[in-house]
């Protein structure tokens, strides 16, 4: 649970965000418009002509929109957990400055996760609004995909941040992006059902937090969610977040208390 100390670190990120929030709003609107426009409407027209029974009989736009919502949350979670953390611990050393005050390493970690949560909330809300404007939502349950998208982002942010704070260079972030985030983006059921993948690869997709986030956002947006699958997906995401937090409490402490 975040403490009052973690809120102080959250406040730091807010003060810091004052410089960049405008730009982040523009990209927060632009990104869903581009994805839903190009893929949902553009590519979607072609897909819909050939029949969408394998998509569950819904339009391609309605199929991919909740998937891209979850995938965008993953990307933001990764971004927020990488460079800003390395900047704080290595380039500016503001984490070391904070560690000299009453703040504890875990407070710095939790404060940043709170800020990541806020950013996920903002961009996912914008995304859902754009989805609604595109007519890509089929059920009022879609509103519940907002917390699910946030959890999806945190399921990446918490463990990646736990690892990022141990780094001294940013080279490995590009590797993570290229070999983890982009493949997940493409193969976790975002753009086509995982059932289309070869049987050997499918279990890998089911192991990734993104697949669970995509699946649950989609079920909610299409109105097909069942209590059993909701519990399964939520449980998986929460477990990954919990593991990330426990690991991060350790790695933050080890890095700042040498």
């Amino acid at each position: 649970m975040p403490t009052a100390f973690a809120l102080r670190q959250f406040e730091f990120w807010l003060i810091n965000y004052r410089r960049t929030w405008k730009g982040s709003i523009y990209s927060g609107v632009l990104s869903p418009v581009l994805y839903l426009g190009a893929l949902g409407l553009g590519l979607g027209q072609l897909v819909d002509k050939h029949g969408t029974t394998s998509l569950g009989g819904v339009s391609y736009l309605a199929f991919i929109a909740p998937g891209v919502l979850a995938a965008a949350a993953m990307q933001l979670g990764m971004e927020e957990a990488s460079w800003p953390v390395l900047g704080s611990v290595k380039w500016l050393k503001t984490y070391q400055a904070a560690a000299a005050t009453p703040m504890r390493p875990a407070d710095l970690f939790h404060g940043h996760l709170l800020f990541t949560t806020l950013r996920l909330l903002m961009t996912s809300t914008v995304f859902l609004i754009v989805m609604a404007l595109f007519g890509a939502i089929q059920s009022p349950w879609a509103i519940a995909s907002l917390p699910v998208a946030i959890l999806t982002g945190l399921a990446f942010s918490a463990p990646i941040e736990a690892w990022a704070v141990t780094r001294n260079k940013d080279g490995s972030f590009a590797v993570i992006f290229r070999f983890l985030i982009i493949p997940l983006f493409l193969f976790s059921g975002t753009f086509f059902p995982v059932s289309q993948l070869p049987a050997v690869i499918r279990p890998i997709a089911y192991l990734t937090p993104l697949w669970h986030g995509v699946a649950l956002c989609r079920e909610l947006s299409l109105g097909t969610a069942q209590p059993g699958s909701v519990a399964e997906h939520l449980g998986y995401l929460l477990a990954v977040i919990a593991i990330g937090i426990v690991a991060g409490n350790q790695t933050y402490r080890r890095r700042l208390y040498a």
Binding site: R8, R19, L92, K93, A99, A100, T101, P102, Y257, A258
Partner: protein
């Protein structure tokens, strides 16, 4: 020693001893950075840790600052245990780290605001203190500017202001003037001297002997993780050096021969360095006359007072700033 509640086992904590270290040790793997040091620090004094790079100064400071657990020995700060009471101890300490850790993307005021919030200070208190502190470190006109373009000396002064935002009882300064040009160093010294006058307890590490001599009431000389000597600058100089030092430079070709001839000049100690010879004596001019009487003609000669540099040389056989 006063007793509490008549219990002879429990001594009242001595309120004037802020830091007490006994056998304090810090190891990084097999490397022993701090090797069983003992010292105590009293309220209101300026305590220096003098030593060359790698002597264990910063490691000691980080342990006092409760951001580095000791590997052995005992350390109490304000009578409390850093392992258990870290946040409570740090709430009463101000830290000026060796490297600047300012947020260079933010403004001067924002840096102070964030730091004050870390101590849980209300915004109006931070605002009021920031104005006073920026006056104190002569940065009032830069309050709204970003930190990035400030000079090294200004950043150092801002770091000092930041460390004072919580009105600390104890201020830790790790090499506060390293990397600054002479003029900027003097401005920092002047500000630290004023803090000393105000009764703030300071601990500072340095490898500049003039810094230690000017500011410290008491200091320890550290070398290779151990404390080599302790005392006031004056005491240390009296104990480990003579009142004057005669520095002689010879032409390169003559140097070896000169050192041989100097061997029987009556001085307390002779120290041949790479570029000059130091003769420790109580009367430099008289010794210089003796040297000349032996037919030696140095290229340059200088009589000066002994400094902590001489103490360090005597204690370790090495120079401080090498």
């Amino acid at each position: 020693m006063t007793l509490v509640n008549g219990d002879p086992q429990v001594a009242a904590p001595d309120l004037d001893v802020l830091v007490r270290a006994t056998g304090l040790t810090k190891k990084f793997g097999k490397f022993v950075a701090v090797d069983g040091v003992d010292f105590s620090l009293n309220r209101g004094e300026v305590f220096g840790i003098l030593g060359p790079n790698g002597a264990g100064k910063s490691s000691t400071m980080r342990m006092i600052g409760c951001v580095s657990p000791a590997s052995g020995g005992k350390l109490t700060i304000f009578g409390q245990d850093p392992g258990r009471d870290g946040p409570a101890i740090r709430a009463r300490i101000g830290v000026v780290p060796q490297e600047d850790t300012l947020d260079t993307e933010l403004t001067v005021l924002e840096n102070l605001l964030i730091y004050g919030r870390y101590f849980g200070l209300p915004r109006d208190v931070i605002k009021e203190r920031s104005a006073k502190l920026l006056d104190f470190v002569q940065l009032a006109d830069r309050a709204a500017d970003r930190v990035d373009p400030l000079s090294g000396g200004m950043k150092r002064r801002l770091t000092i202001a930041r460390s004072l935002i919580s009105d600390p009882e104890l201020l830790l300064l790790d090499e506060p003037t390293t990397g600054l040009d002479p003029q900027a160093r003097h401005v920092v010294w002047d500000r630290l001297y004023r803090l000393k006058q105000q009764g703030v307890t300071l601990v500072l590490t340095t490898h500049y002997m003039d810094e230690a001599e000017q500011l410290c009431d008491r200091l320890v000389v550290m070398d290779r993780g151990k404390i080599a000597a302790e005392g006031s600058p004056r005491e240390l100089i009296e104990r480990y050096s003579t009142s004057e030092v005669l520095e002689l430079r010879f032409a390169l070709a003559d140097e070896e021969q000169a050192v041989e001839k100097l061997a029987d000049v009556p001085v307390a100690r002779m120290e041949p360095l790479a570029d000059r010879v130091l003769l420790y004596t109580d009367d430099g001019d008289e010794t210089l006359a003796t040297v000349r009487a032996r037919g030696l003609e140095p290229v340059t000669s200088l009589v000066r007072r002994s400094t902590l540099e001489d103490v360090f040389l005597r204690l370790t056989g090495r120079r401080l700033e090498d």
